[in-house]
Amino acid sequence: MQNVSTQSQSRRKTAALACAVVAANVFGNLFLSHGMKDIGRLISGDPLAYLRTFANPWILVGVATLFGWMLLDLALLSRADLTFVLPVTASAYVLIAVAGHYWFGEAASVSRWIGIAIITLGATLAAETPPKTTEGLPEDLL
């Protein structure tokens, strides 16, 4: 009984972490996009050209948010399979497409809304599977 309760608590914790990963991904990408719209075209082999973009506050906040996303994503990968994490966190694509439409006025076609519905279905299906199917190190499983 206690084992079931611990499992359920662990699953809730993983779900909360997945939500945090999605939120950090969405906001980080939107901040970056806002900053890059201010800066304009950037195609360069010079790393300094990319470092100079950090002077834009939107880029700075975006990078900081995506740094947080990377740490949260690593924490999620320590608790769940990659094949669980990928579809479940795909809901970020849906939220980014919706935010891109309402925040930046980007065009949203019928096929885009159908895509959003299909991704949501895929993410829901994956979320119903056990987060972790492997135990131990990869070389132990060979």
Binding site: R79, A90, A97, G115
Partner: protein, 122 residues
Amino acid sequence: MSLKWGLVILVAICNTAGDVLNADGMRHYGEISDFRPASLLRILPGILHNRYLLGGFAAMTISFLAFLSLLSIANVSFAVPATASSYLFETILAKYFLKEDVGARRWIAAVLVAIGVTLLEF
């Protein structure tokens, strides 16, 4: 091939390598249960001592710089979904390289997400 699609392919390849290496690296690192910022920051030194995470971090850095360039010439609602076009490939790598148990539901989920992501681009 246009510059835009060249950047999409570069970001997708680096994302795939980064995701698989990071997943492998975190399995070696062990499960994290404390999500406070100070605890999460303790992962950073671990990256330097874990060759999988180091490789994943390098791939993600290249991906990020290419993504910045992509955002400078494309809309965010195109750039983010387009770079996720590697979903099915990552699922195959997870099954054979990471030895994950990919059941029917996860295959269907991966296919649905890949189809959905493709539709977002139109």
